[in-house]
Symmetry: C2
Subunit: 211 residues, 2 copies
């Protein structure tokens, strides 16, 4: 094994393997990059079937990112995985309110999850909003309510919580709705998947060094 | 769907479902908690088959953590996912050198990955060392060399890079060796998996609120 394979070369080769193993399966332009990057992140080809896109999801997200968007995550891990350099180049920024002491105090006082309060905070942000939810079903459920109430109108909701309780149902809320969405149906997902989806859209907008 | 289910309750219920779906499959004490937490993190039952433990892995890691260990990751995402409060309670800390400008400069000058240089940095840390590698095969390969050269003697190597190039081979290097290891055989793994494994061991040592 050689150490001299560059990370860019490894990534290119990995995407070739993924494309090859997907065989005759094809996806619409823009979505294809997302599906492949999620498989690249997880080595799990189930995502070729799990990922559901609203028709306008990629275009809406691209437009928002090009204008400078605020991305809100429900974990610091997802925040950590998002390419924030490219996001900043495009005039945007990413935030997670889960570890905010004020959010924690309010959640405790009201007997709700910090994810619920985080979404309420985020809904007040002006400008283009993108949500990247990879962990908390309650974030997705509260976000769905806030949208229905007219409190916010996201350019994209990435809804990919992982798990066994409330997860499947929370994701189904968005399917077929008016809000642009990328949802991982079923139990699978995660903060890494949420970050990968955001990055896959970013990388369609900015040429990365070596690619 | 109710918002009032507490995160602790959701986690308990999730582990009940995982245990139930694992059916008659059982794992040694200490390893069982790791397998279930990784499934909890990924909703992917493949890890019940993929995860390989050296016989001394859990005991060695527990002993190191109880004495105050340094955990080194190969991504900020894994670092972000590790429960650092409990680690600090035990007198330990966690670090990632991947974004260190000095590491980047040295990697560029030598034509190697930052992961390689990161491992060399980490190998010089005194005291109990635990590696949590969820991304870079080159980190694992270089770490294996450093151990053979006697540069360091980790209390545990968590080797769970994900991907399609060099990944499978880099993980196989540790199987059956003298260094205590937890390896995810095959392509699957990730920073989230690395963090989940560390947390699953931490949570065996410290009682968490609500559990």
């Amino acid at each position: 094994m050689s150490f001299l394979i560059k990370p860019t070369e490894i990534e290119k080769k990995s995407f070739e393997i993924i494309t090859q193993e997907l065989g005759s399966r094809t996806f619409p332009a823009g979505q294809s990059e997302v599906v492949k990057r999620v498989i690249h992140t997880t080595a799990d080809f189930d995502y070729a079937d799990n990922l559901c896109f609203s028709e306008d999801a990629i275009d809406s997200a691209k437009q928002a990112l090009m204008q400078g968007a605020t991305i809100v995550t429900d974990t610091n891990m997802a925040l950590s995985g998002i390419n924030k350099n490219i996001l900043a180049e495009l005039g945007g920024s990413a935030h997670c309110f889960m570890a905010d002491p004020e959010v924690a105090a309010m959640a405790k006082a009201r007997g709700v999850t910090r994810a619920v309060v985080s979404m309420e905070y985020a809904s007040k942000i002006e400008g283009n909003l993108i949500f990247a939810i990879g962990n908390a079903p309650t974030a997705l459920i509260r976000l769905h309510e806030l949208i229905r109430e007219g409190a916010c109108r996201p350019a994209l909701v990435v809804g990919v919580p992982v798990g066994f309780v409330n997860v499947v149902e929370s994701k189904e809320l968005f399917l077929g709705g008016d809000t642009p969405y990328i949802i991982a149906r079923g139990r699978k997902g995660g903060s890494n998947v949420a970050a990968a989806i955001i990055n896959a859209i970013e990388y369609q907008l900015v040429k990365r060094e070596g690619f």
